[in-house]
């Protein structure tokens, strides 16, 4: 971590984009939510969306107030915003993280998996292939994206903070 790094936190149902070469985008406590991380290496533009639910039709009023809450409204906005900063769709490197599942989940379709599938579906529709992903399992994740390099670090720990933490670069 350099001293001149400018860290921007992305909250739940939130999205941030930066073209600052010192910019670092970070989001915490990804449980069943998904982080979509995009980077254009040619212009060092970075974006991170942290969404909670797969489809705006689940709650159209909430979607109107905050489109970043849903995959199908948040992902197109994330892409619009990075492209407004000079990124080009064909150069974007896309990664996803999150979508954890509760081990004793009772619902037929768990939200973590639905979110993961929604992210993949939307990205396919938007004409983007996913470079790599850190998804599923019963872990909580923190994701950090460096605008200068496009490097993505994922830290994983047990859902209640218990258990060992691991950190790796998402290739």
């Amino acid at each position: 971590m350099t001293q001149v790094e400018k860290q921007m936190t992305v909250g739940v149902s939130d999205c941030k984009v930066t073209d600052d070469p010192e910019g670092v985008l970070i989001t915490y406590a990804l449980g069943s939510c998904i982080a979509v991380v995009v980077h254009d290496p040619a212009v060092a533009v970075a974006g991170l969306l942290h969404f909670m639910l797969p489809e705006a039709s689940i709650d159209p009023e909430k979607a109107a107030r905050n489109p970043y809450m849903f995959a199908d409204t948040g992902i197109p906005l994330l892409l619009e915003e990075v492209m407004r900063r000079g990124a080009k769709r064909e150069r974007l490197v896309v990664r996803i993280a999150g979508g954890a599942q509760a081990l004793n989940g009772h619902e037929m379709f768990q939200i973590g998996k639905r979110n993961h599938l929604a992210a993949r579906k939307l990205l396919w529709k938007e004409g983007l292939l996913v470079k790599s992903e850190a998804v599923g399992g019963g872990v909580s994740r923190t994701v950090r994206l460096e605008a200068a390099t496009g490097r993505v670090l994922v830290r994983e720990s047990g859902m209640n903070g218990a258990g060992p933490q691991t950190e790796r670069s998402l290739r």
């Binding site: 379709f109 998996k113 639905r114 599938l117 929604a118 579906k121 396919w124 529709k125």
Partner: protein, 142 residues
Amino acid sequence: MIAAADFLAAARAVAREVLEAMFFSEAEPVSCQHLEECVAVRVGFHGGEMAVMISPQLAVAASAAFLAEDSDEVTTEQREMVSRELANILCGAVLSRLHPDQRVALRAPEMAAPDFGSGAAVHQCFATPEGRLAITARLDCA
């Protein structure tokens, strides 16, 4: 000769894989209910015939996902073509899993009457977030 229990186990594993990989959905095995309206496709193979029944909403959603389009842009023709390909992939994957040492030879998938699978010996039904799917088979020795 394919045993019914083996066919069902293969169908359950394959349906999940197929729906997730290429149709961005999930399939959860459930007890069978009659599908009032559905898109039905049959696929013949050496040793029997399989049918896949898809509820109309799932057929549209799966087609839109596969084609990378909006649901309201999917035409009836596209819905049928994607449903045929879905049945083709399901059948081929089931047979490959059941007999990994034999080549798979499938006949071209064909649209079928909606009640096609009703007399079949073997059925497995699935719920997906978008609707229902049923896989049925008539196995020559079953």
